[in-house]
């Protein structure tokens, strides 16, 4: 079972992503900001990170940048999910270490397509 870490400060968004991903057989953990995400990332291996941008204490870009410099966490693919739709935001996401960029609100089919593409599917 593939493990996903969903990082977003809004509980409803986390629940939404959880339901979509669990429905496709993924195991989902949650974190409320980049710091908690890093705590979970060092404690267990993930196959995918779904990361919001605007979060208290540590934003999504900072989390990704730190993630990509560490050797003690799984360098799994990361999807940045953001309200910002400018091309420059997309570029910054890739520069910070994201593999893919999805604009909020994410459509379930889109999120699942991306998640499957990046991990090979939930229940493999």
């Amino acid at each position: 079972m593939k493990r996903v870490l969903v990082v977003d400060d809004a509980a409803t968004v986390r629940l939404y992503h959880r339901q979509v991903l669990e429905g496709a057989g993924f195991h989902v953990d949650e974190a409320i900001n980049g710091i908690e995400a890093m705590e979970k990332a060092v404690a267990q291996a993930y196959d995918l990170y779904i990361v919001d941008v605007n979060m208290p204490r540590m934003d999504g870009y900072s989390f990704l940048r730190q993630l990509r410099t560490r050797t003690d966490v799984s360098q799994a693919p990361a999807v940045m999910v953001s309200t910002e739709a400018e091309e420059r935001d997309r570029m910054w996401a890739y520069a910070a270490g994201a593999n893919y960029y999805v604009t909020k609100p994410a459509r379930p089919e889109h999120l699942l397509t991306v998640a499957t593409l990046l991990t090979g599917g939930g229940s493999e």
Binding site: A10, A11, T12, V13, L15, Y16, V53, N54, M55, P56, R57, M58, D59, G60, Y61, S62, T83, E84, R88, K104, P105, A106, R107, P108
Partner: protein, 209 residues
């Protein structure tokens, strides 16, 4: 060697060595420009006792690269509070630096009384990101018009993510008064799965609590 006996432990003095300037207001302001982040950090901490330092601290925040100094600025601004701090922080919500934006939001969330007067204005900003931030700031604002404002967004804000932000807030706490707005939001965005999901969540919570 080994475990030292109590009573032999030397107590350290605070690092006075690097205080090249006087520890008064002017001296502290000078230290804000020091190349050593530790010096800037101490100056920021001491400036929490000087409300007049708010605008200088905001200026520094906008340019400061070191986390340890940024966090100290956030703490000092929260302690100082007031109009100058709030008016200085609001423009930072437009920053391209996500960390800076989020620090500004966090500080503003801790100054609900000072922020209240700006909320209405922010809610009608042409920039949807600013409207989203206005909603975020409302998280800690027990303002009597809170539900009125949120209902307004649900009924008529054109941007899906502003409406989503309002729904996210209401999924924690909302009264029956916002229900008509919630239903309207669901009607206005019939093809947005997240909005439908969030509306259902809010409705369910309001009816259960």
């Amino acid at each position: 060697m080994g475990l030292k006996k109590a009573g032999q432990v030397r107590q350290e003095e605070s690092p006075a060595g690097f205080r090249r300037y006087e520890r008064n207001y002017q001296g502290l302001l000078c230290q804000l420009g020091d190349p050593d982040p530790a010096v800037r950090r101490w100056a920021v901490r001491d400036l929490a006792s000087y409300p007049e330092a708010a605008s200088e601290l905001v200026l520094l925040l906008a340019e400061e690269p070191e986390i340890e100094v940024r966090e100290a600025i956030a703490t000092s601004l929260e302690l100082i509070g007031g109009r100058t701090a709030v008016e200085g922080l609001i423009p930072l919500l437009r920053s391209e630096d996500a960390g800076l934006r989020n620090t500004a939001i966090e500080v503003l969330q801790h100054l609900p009384d000072d922020v209240a007067v700006h909320t209405e204005r922010l809610l009608v900003e042409p920039d949807s990101d600013l409207r989203i931030f206005a909603v975020n700031i409302m998280e800690t604002l027990p303002h009597p018009r809170r539900e009125e404002w949120l209902s307004g967004i649900l009924r008529s804000d054109p941007h899906v993510n502003v409406v989503a932000a309002a729904l996210n807030l209401l999924s924690e706490i909302g009264s029956e008064r916002v229900l008509p707005g919630v239903l309207e939001a669901g009607r206005r965005f019939p093809a947005e799965p997240y909005i439908q999901f969030a509306c259902q969540m809010v409705e369910k919570r309001i009816r259960s609590l």
